[in-house]
């Protein structure tokens, strides 16, 4: 009677649902996934974490206040906790796991997470990561900002990150990380 020590075997019966009848497909990080056995009211965040094995987006406030579940839906930065998962059918969803360094090709080590993006690397080097809980949300939000605005001013950065809360760093080192990325990317242009 060995228990499921690997933790990878799904429970024989769904844990939380009472009317889990919906089966739908979500495209996450370029891969189509079949989703089943969820509650129809499940947020995208729950489906990503609990059904698709993508725990990068974090679950904290479940009301869009903290930004720790930030993902991109059709290229737009949103809180995964406020997206009804089944209503995201047909959308391209990108999580922190799907961010790749510039120039990476499918099959690269980057796609397995072995290589960090410049934002992730800068967050480490600048000390922008302490407990780490908010970090994935920040990384997604910073990528979104710098993809749209390559050289943002200080106020622009603060306003763009107003929806991501960090209770460890006091934000200074996160801002330093962004400055570092902007400088390095600027030198490469």
């Amino acid at each position: 009677m060995g228990g499921d020590v690997t933790g990878t075997t799904p429970p024989a019966t769904p844990v939380r649902d009472t009317d889990a009848d919906a089966v739908y497909r979500l495209t996450v990080n370029g891969t189509a996934h079949t989703v089943e056995g969820t509650r129809p009211t499940d947020s995208l965040l729950h489906v990503l974490r609990d059904r698709l094995g993508l725990p990068g987006a974090k679950n904290a406030c479940e009301q869009g206040e903290c930004g720790s579940c930030s993902v991109l839906v059709d290229g737009v930065l949103v809180c995964a906790c406020l997206e009804l998962a089944e209503a995201a059918v047909g959308c391209e969803i990108t999580t922190v796991e799907g961010l790749t360094p510039a120039g990476a090709e499918p099959g690269d080590a980057a796609l397995t997470g072995a290589v960090l993006t410049d934002v992730q690397q800068a967050m480490i080097e600048a000390g922008g990561v302490q407990c780490g809980f908010c970090t994935p949300g920040f990384v997604v939000a910073i990528h979104d900002l710098l993809d749209r605005v390559p050289d943002p001013g200080p106020l622009e950065v603060r306003e763009a990150l107003a929806g991501n809360l960090c209770r460890c760093t006091g934000y200074g080192r996160i801002l330093a990380a962004i400055e570092q990325v902007v400088t390095v990317r600027g030198n490469g242009r």
Binding site: D19, A22, P40, T41, S43, E62, Q63, G64, E65, G67, S70, V76, L77, V78, C79, C81, L82, E83, L84, E86, A87, V89, G90, A141, D144, E159, A160, A162, G163, N164
Partner: protein, 286 residues
């Protein structure tokens, strides 16, 4: 529970007619919080995400008759688009105070109307601009002023089986201001807010207050009195006594309550300050 995601407005209206118990999902920034916290369990969901007509905006008419028609699914981020912000500056200012980039990317003007929270940030702007809301159901289309559509806290004139499809907002020719008080500048629900619109051609002033009454509050007498005493020919000269009296009249028009965000007394004081400040700023920009 079913989740329907039609791709045509007609199909959305038909789906709602077939099952009026469907909960309409726009951005989800209000609905999903209630769902996540177990406070609300929809019997079925009608998602408007894939209805293209609801995401568009355009200008209808020109000159003093110009209106901006905003599809109900227009996001706060879209309202910050410079082309739209130039036409509806107070709506852009209000949108910038909503939530965070994530929330502004998701939340919609139609959702703000449908939720009809007294603290909804677009509502005082739409009321000050005399905007009208467009509705559709299987039995046809109708429109009504936003001031009549919002009937109480989280209550609207929406009939069973009816959808908000658009908002028609007149383009005013003159400065506009939106001001909001909350505990900080980001991610905050209004303790009090204020929209003020000056129309230089018609020598008209409109001011609506939010979060200080069951619905956005206007005082037509105070507006007319103030407009009649403004020195339109010698802008931007402005009598301090006139500004003070305007603030007092707007505060008197408010009907705030005590709640977990602020006391009624604080809110009444706050809207007096906001109304004064909005008038002074808008007038200085003439």
């Amino acid at each position: 529970m079913t989740v329907l995601a039609p791709t045509r407005l007609d199909d959305a209206v038909a789906a709602l007619a077939a099952d009026p118990s469907l909960t309409v999902l726009a951005g989800g920034t209000d609905l999903m919080v209630a769902v996540n916290y177990g406070q609300y369990r929809p019997a079925g969901v009608l998602s408007l995400r894939r209805v293209p007509e609801l995401h568009d905006w355009h200008v209808d008419g020109d000159g003093s008759a110009a209106h901006v028609v905003l599809g109900a699914a227009t996001s706060y981020t879209t309202l910050l688009d410079p082309a739209l912000a130039a036409l509806l500056p107070a709506l852009a200012q209000a949108s910038r105070t909503v939530g965070s980039p994530q929330i502004r990317n998701t939340g919609t003007v139609g959702g703000n109307l449908g939720t009809a929270s007294p603290a909804g940030d677009t509502l005082p702007v739409l009321v000050a601009l005399d905007a009208t809301v467009e509705l559709a159901s299987a039995s046809g289309r109708r429109s009504m002023p936003v001031s009549e559509f919002v009937t109480g806290p989280k209550q609207t004139a929406l009939a069973l089986g009816e959808l908000v499809t658009a908002v028609r907002v007149p383009v005013a020719h003159g400065p506009q201001e939106f001001l909001k008080i909350g505990v900080r500048n980001a991610m905050v629900i209004a303790v009090a807010n204020c929209a003020l619109v000056l129309d230089l051609g018609r020598r008209h002033l409109a001011c609506a207050l939010g979060a200080v009454g069951p619905v956005p509050m206007r005082d037509r007498d105070a507006e007319r009195w103030t407009a009649a005493h403004l020195d339109w020919g010698h802008r931007p000269r402005l009598e301090p006594a006139l500004v003070d009296e305007f603030g007092r009249r707007m505060a008197a028009a408010s009907r705030p309550i005590d709640d977990h965000r602020a006391t009624a007394a604080y809110r009444r004081h706050a809207v007096e300050v906001l109304a004064r400040r909005a008038l002074a700023r808008a007038w200085a920009a003439t």
